[in-house]
Amino acid sequence: MEEKVKEIIQRYSGDKSYLVPILQDVQKEFNYLPKDALYAVSTHLSVPVSRVYEVVTFYKAFSLKPKGRYQLSLCMGTACHVRGGELIARNVADTLGIKEGDTTADLEFSFETVGCLGACALGPILVVNGEYHGHMNIAKSTKILKKLGKKGATDDEQD
């Protein structure tokens, strides 16, 4: 892990002002920010670990907990909200039995709501592992979850 962190820091020539993008790359590598990685960033970038922790907990993009195999993000921008995004959020959370921002105990599903994705014509939007599913509604979201639970494939739902 330390080697990987060192390599990422190298990409930014060890420039401290790139702490946020460095942590983004580290998170991309490990799917979340493990404690050891934070210490490694602190050591090799010469930034106190308290500062690293402050930054990690300040920005919404960072997670200190592992994410699930399927990462579901529901857009909660205003346009999606006025088109009933909240009802869908409630449905997804209830179906998975977790709260927004949490991961199921078996590490299968993570569910979060995000700010605007800027694809408002398609709203409400549910993103499953980076793939956009537009014009979402309650029934469709249930169907997607069912499919993921049954077969574990994300590419079989076409809009």
Partner: protein
Amino acid sequence: MMSKIKSFDELKSVQERLKAGRDPKKPCITVCVGTGCLAYGTQKLVDSFREELAKRDLTGRIDFRTSGCHGFCERGPMVVISPEKVFYQRVGLMDAGEIIDKTVLKGEIIDRLLYVDPQTGEKYVHEDDVPFYKKQTRLVFGLNSKVDPQSMEDYLAIGGYSALGKALTTMKPEEIIQEVIKANLRGRGGGGFPAGWKWDETRKAKGEPKYIVCNADEGDPGAYMDRSLTEGNPHLVLEGMIIGAYAIGSSQGYIYVRNEYPLAVKNIHIAMRQAREAGLLGENILGTGFSFDLKINRGGGAFVCGESSALFASLEGRAGEPRAKYIHATDKGLYDKPTNLNNVETWANVPFIIERGADWYASIGTAGSKGTKIFSLVGKINNTGLVEVPMGTTLREIVFDIGGGIPEGRKFKAIQTGGPSGGCIPEKYLDMRVDFDELTKIGSMMGSGGMIVMDERNCMVDMARYFTNFLVSESCGKCVPCREGIRRMRDILVDITEGKGREEDVDLLEKMASSIVDGSLCALGSSAPNPVLSTIRYFRDEYMAHIKEKRCPAGVCKDLITYSVDPEKCTGCTLCAKVCPTGAASGERKKVHAIDPTKCTKCGACRESCKFEAIIVR
């Protein structure tokens, strides 16, 4: 790879050569690959066009271009065939072959791909005739459809970087600043502060180096024009920044862009590399001795980082907390050095002012707000998309003439502008001319240009709760009135939506609002109460219905509504019973269904599935 361009004259000859190499009569297929269209799966269509062209041995004989966002996101995937500019919308991912064979080769029009005005039923063949485009003034944004964002040649061929050449070789920095002041270019990011004044202050400030920053941390939910400019025409943004850097006397700039915009990050990276190779960025730009370079920084998903001092903190690798602004950023900004921050759209306007002059620019718009503004028209609107209109266009023109009105024949209720810092504008102001000052007068603001349309099925108390809730999670926590005050306002709003509101709550909300405004350092806190105040101001009766009658007139607030079936409209199709997760909706086929209120969780699945509007929510 392009070799270094060493002078303005050489730039002109490169532009001429590129322009001459392009036959305006040669057929060209343009496909929009903005983020919105890509979300429709447009990449497959692009691949298929390339394949079909190769199959017919037409690659090279027919130009094919992928371009940035055209703005008409509602109708993606979109294809435009030049030179006639035939406009196809909602193109199927397998339609490429047919379009090539019929339209490009034979000039036949494919009827089913044409745009049909949902109100008049009229069909349109050419892009420029479509009402959505026809009523706009696409000055800044219109270039998007003319260039491949990853091709610098495209940008140069339409005269790109001419303004930079003109500025560097024929104008003194002070002259440029005077031109921008005269044009009265106001900041498009929210505040509307005159950009020229800011430039002037930064230029005159003591301290080296001086920085310029492009704010592409577009955080307002429902606004995406900055992304579409950055990803759709990155060279335009770069050109504006380089001109600004020269005017201000800056050698280093930053672009702070949302990490949620991967395509924008990618395209601006590519554009910077190309500009460096061509000698338009870096050392000794166009052989004039002026040097300037740029770095990109990706944000971490914090709304407050759109605020200047928080953005600087984030650029320095710290948590994005704003600071007091009795010392202006133009004196002490990034790393405590003089810093000029403008947003994407502001920078993108600069080349036009330099190229065509301040007088021309100032001829567009209203007395206090010049030029055009790009709005993102979203929500309950037929033509979701980005629209660019002269300042002073009325809301009615934007919503009904360009936006095509409200879907499903529902009634317009309000339009929300200015993001979470803005307000909700009721129907009676539809004929108001939109500019910075008019919006502020009625308790909203321009913000970055988000316009969210709401219909009769949107509850205004719920909207106030939504924005306040957003701000609770986005307040950085530094100022107590903002951190705790917004939270308490949210709690009160939640109570009202749950039927636990008290009559004195509305006054209390208003009182708290003024304390939060007074006690917050930055614009996030001081504008946070706007959504609450504007909804109280224009929709007080709706608050009262929630509080006194325990009723949500729009049928949104879960605790105040019940679902039932309209026996007149129900056809007994059984769909609601099928989708109901709790078995509350039930009935026999072809007989009127019923909803058992003891089992109903008010999830809304039945209402969304019903094709006959037979589910009553009261």
